[in-house]
Amino acid sequence: MSSTLLIIQTLNGLQLGVLLFLIAAGLTLVFGVMDFINLAHGVQYMLGAYLAAMFVAWTGNFFIGLVLALISALAFGLLLEVLVMRHLYDRDHLEQVLATFGVILFLNEGVKIVWGAAPLQVPVPDMLSGAVAIADGVLYPIWRLAIILSGLAVALGLYLVVTKTRVGMLIRAGATNAPMVSALGVDIRRLFMIVFGFGAMLAGFAGCMAAPVLSVEPGMGDNLLILAFVVIVIGGIGSIRGAFIGALIVGLTDTLLRSFSVDLLRMTGLSPSDARTIGPAIASMSIYILMAAVLFFRPTGLFPAKG
């Protein structure tokens, strides 16, 4: 376990963490404000990546492609809200889970029909390609740093919007007690539509940023959705702060254990072959064990928004 590898994997963990935060933020606000379980949030991330791939290829410029992809992701989120979500606000979680599950099936297959089943590649924009030395002899890709920085910038922006603006105040109030906000004369459904569309755009943004690093393929949002749920359950539903801290915990735990679980197990005196067998299994399960442990001691997460 070298310190160079540790630095690089910590940065990779941060990068996964900010991506998870971008997804979890929309998810947790949608759930917090409207008590709505949106399983389709992961496919909105996938769609963002596909839109980025398409628009970047069309325009030949990553940043123009990014803007177009974000606008489309927002529009698509609003369309989804009108077509499906708004019919389910007053219904059981069961029906929400089922309907959004149907949306996942449709979109995972839909992108195969439109863009084919083969993975797409999105090139890293020229000005952000290459690597930079972050310590003695430690090179790190600039694009991954860009992901981390843009994610942190969005987190800061979101924090300011939620804590300093009127819309943010309504969102916080809505997450704490939606019926009361509604009774005070706020159009909670319109507020929710804004939150939903914005959440879809954030997920889409995560997809755009991840596209040059990962291959863009059907189902790419499914696993990230599950991770995002782990994040908001650990952080506490409806809480932006919880989503941020939860995302960093999950991103770092997952990435670091995937790299070092075998070494760590060997240090406990396990034979190398046993460590190689058990390590990866423990690494893939670690965040779920973490989540179960958090819920066991704090059944509403670390920073629940609802009092």
């Binding site: 019919h87 069961l94 889970v97 359950v233």
Partner: protein, 327 residues
């Protein structure tokens, strides 16, 4: 039906226990399934399709016990199917092909997993319960993928179907069909008895008004956990049957889309009716098969159908049948 329990007075009778009028639908259903091999003699494709539908019927039945009667939305129910399948396949891998050993072991595996995970999951409510059941299913999934001795990602083949008391009874597809049908009916009757019993009423009572149940001196947690363990065991049995049908088990059997499918089956049929879960399972398996024959992109059609079911099918198919027959 005579009721001695004081709880019964507050709840209408039809949803509970043995109600012969309500048994008309399951009777027609099981009779229909029983004559299928006569209608399609030697048609292996159709028989195997309906066998698969019935196996999912057992899994959906078990989910309906906790979902329909306990309002516990388990998003990890497929894990029990996978565990049951792995139990049967791993036993055969080590030379134990006896169903009378493998099936009880599968049931015990599912029940044990349900006991441990349920004890933690049931401390939470609502969306947290959904997520934590999902998390446990993911753990089971990742455990299965890391079992390199048993095929890892690629899954594990079974050399042949389980033997029953040493006899190769299940090798014949028609025999296997009737064994699955028999187990489906047995599970149905067992669950029907359970939900009609005092236990089932407390489960339902806790769903409707937890505080009242506590005030009456019942601890809902214990009843929910028991129901969860029963559901886990029965679902694992369906998994062992599923492994026998395809002679194969893989981690993919435990993925969360499969759990979503099971929920769709229960809701489509009508939650909290038991026979509705069977009808929902058969309906969805057949629709999937039918759509898959039309286009390889059948999920693009199936997905919107699921959305429509969620938005419009309040009460599921059973409600539609009830309305159609004027009840």
């Amino acid at each position: 039906m005579t009721d001695v329990s004081p709880l019964a007075s507050s709840t209408p009778a039809p949803a509970l226990g043995w109600d012969w009028k309500r048994l008309a639908i399951p009777l027609v259903l099981f009779a229909g399934l029983a004559v299928m091999p006569l209608i399609f003699p030697g048609d292996r494709y159709t028989l195997s399709l309906i066998t698969r539908a019935m196996i999912f019927g057992i899994a959906a039945l078990s989910l309906d016990l906790i979902l329909g009667y306990g309002a516990l939305i388990s998003f990890g129910h497929a894990a029990f199917m996978g565990l049951g399948g792995y139990a049967a396949a791993i036993l055969m891998f080590h030379g134990t092909g006896e169903a009378l050993v493998a099936f009880p072991v599968a049931i015990a595996t599912g029940a044990l997993f349900a006991l441990v995970t349920g004890a933690i999951s049931l401390k939470t409510r609502g969306v947290y319960f959904i997520m934590i059941t999902l998390a446990f299913a993911q753990m089971a999934f990742f455990t299965a993928t890391s079992l390199s001795a048993y095929g890892g990602d690629d899954g594990l083949r079974m050399a042949q179907r389980n033997v029953v008391a040493g006899a190769r009874l299940l090798q014949n597809d028609t025999n296997f069909y009737f064994v699955v049908l028999g187990l489906l009916i047995a599970c149905y009757l067992l669950l029907r008895t359970i939900v009609g019993s005092r236990f089932g009423r407390i489960l339902k009572g806790a769903k409707e008004n937890e505080r009242r149940m506590r005030a009456l001196g019942f601890d809902p947690f214990r009843y929910r956990l028991t129901a969860y363990v029963i559901a886990g065991g029965i679902c694992a049995l369906s998994g062992a049957l599923f492994a026998n049908l395809g002679l194969f088990v893989a981690p993919a059997y435990m993925t969360w889309p499969r759990s979503g499918e099971l929920i769709a089956m229960v809701v489509l049929g009508g939650t909290g009716t038991l026979h509705g879960a069977i009808i929902g399972a058969i309906g969805i398996i057949i629709v999937e098969e039918w759509l898959a024959e039309i286009t390889q992109h059948w999920k693009a059609i199936f997905g919107p159908l699921v959305v429509l079911v969620a938005i419009f099918a309040r009460g599921g198919i059973i409600r539609l049948i009830d309305r159609g027959t004027g009840r």
